[in-house]
């Protein structure tokens, strides 16, 4: 699994927000064997130093970081945030979020394409948080994106894959583009389903961080991703509408 020429150790990407404690976050990242962790930037007062402590925790984990532009509503905000993130986290990777609607946190796909173009021209490697819209996907690729991250369901909703048809169409339409289901995954079975559909990776945060036992859930997601990938590679059977006996009928005893 490679993103922009960088080989990842795992197809499970893990968010770092909303954990009960830094120790539990670190435990979850290890249990997940996460290939990437997502991070963000926020205001910090000089005396606070929370950001410095967080940075040292993340550095110690030794997992590649993918900073986001969460909370940005315009291309301008997203571009400035990305520039600041590149310097602070020392990476040209950026998870580009341009939010268009407050209730669903649906991406503003018009602003997203514009910001992706500006950032790519500035040397960024853009991971756009997008919808499953194929036309938008095409525009993002044309803007220079080499990875697409469609939502499964609204961020933090835990609803899983809301539009399986759309996600399957996206996979079929872009067979060679790394695709990641980002947002909305609530349970390991959703992650397995995404991998079975042929997605290259999944990005999870709330489902792990807000579980009763985040470290246990991180392990469950690791197994789920592994399972879905193995299933995909093993070429699943086709569905059918009628029953077909799995036990041979030939040689069946007759008692009447």
């Amino acid at each position: 699994m490679t993103f922009y020429g960088t080989e990842l150790s795992s197809r499970l990407m893990l968010g770092t927000a909303q954990y009960p404690s830094p120790d539990i976050l670190a435990g979850a990242v290890r249990a997940a064997q996460a290939g990437v962790v997502t991070v963000s930037l926020r205001r910090e007062s000089a005396g606070e130093r929370a950001g410095q402590a967080f940075w040292s925790l993340i550095s110690d984990l030794g997992v590649p970081v993918l900073p986001n532009t969460a909370g940005c509503h315009t291309p301008r905000e997203a571009v400035t945030t990305a520039q600041m993130a590149r310097e602070v986290f020392n990476t040209d990777w950026i998870k580009l979020e341009v939010i268009g609607e407050q209730d669903t946190l649906q991406p503003d796909v018009f602003g997203l394409v514009e910001a992706a173009r500006i950032l790519t021209e500035d040397g960024f490697k853009v991971f756009p948080y997008t919808t499953e819209d194929l036309v938008v996907a095409e525009r993002l690729l044309r803007a220079g994106c080499e990875v697409l991250m469609p939502w499964g369901a609204p961020i933090g909703s835990g609803k899983g894959l809301n539009n399986v048809f759309g996600l399957r169409a996206m996979r079929a339409h872009f067979p060679d583009v790394p695709l990641v289901v980002d947002a909305g995954i609530g349970r390991p079975s959703h992650a397995t389903q995404a991998m079975e559909l042929g997605y290259d990776a999944v990005l999870i945060n709330t489902a792990v961080a807000q579980a009763g036992d985040p470290v246990g859930m991180a392990r469950a997601f690791r197994l789920a991703v592994e399972s879905g990938l193995a299933a995909r590679e093993a070429d699943p059977m086709d569905e059918r509408d009628m029953a077909a006996p799995s036990t041979p009928v030939l040689g069946l005893a007759r008692f009447a």
Binding site: G15, T16, A17, Q18, Y19, L25, T38, V39, S40, L41, R42, R43, E44, S45, A46, G47, R49, A50, G51, Q52, F54, W55, I58, P67, N68, A70, R76, T80, T81, Q83, M84, A85, E87, V88, F89, I155, G156, L203, N205, T206
Partner: protein, 65 residues
């Protein structure tokens, strides 16, 4: 002079960004800065002028999804 730091009014005396950051106590902290909405990289802090009424954003690493 008075500037705004992360939306809070602050009185500072320095006239370049690097001096102002020291004055505010950020020293060697791992932070990124923007002046009046535009990113100012570390390499330009020593020459970036801070004027009365400037809006300074100082961002640090944070948990994110």
């Amino acid at each position: 002079m008075r500037i705004t730091v992360n939306d809070e009014p602050r009185d500072v005396t320095g006239d370049t960004l690097s001096v102002v950051l020291d004055e505010l106590g950020y020293g060697a902290a791992r932070v990124a800065t923007a002046l009046d909405g535009l990113f100012v990289p570390v390499s330009r802090r020593a020459t970036a002028s801070v004027t009365d009424g400037a809006r300074l954003e100082i961002l640090a690493p944070m948990q994110g999804g």
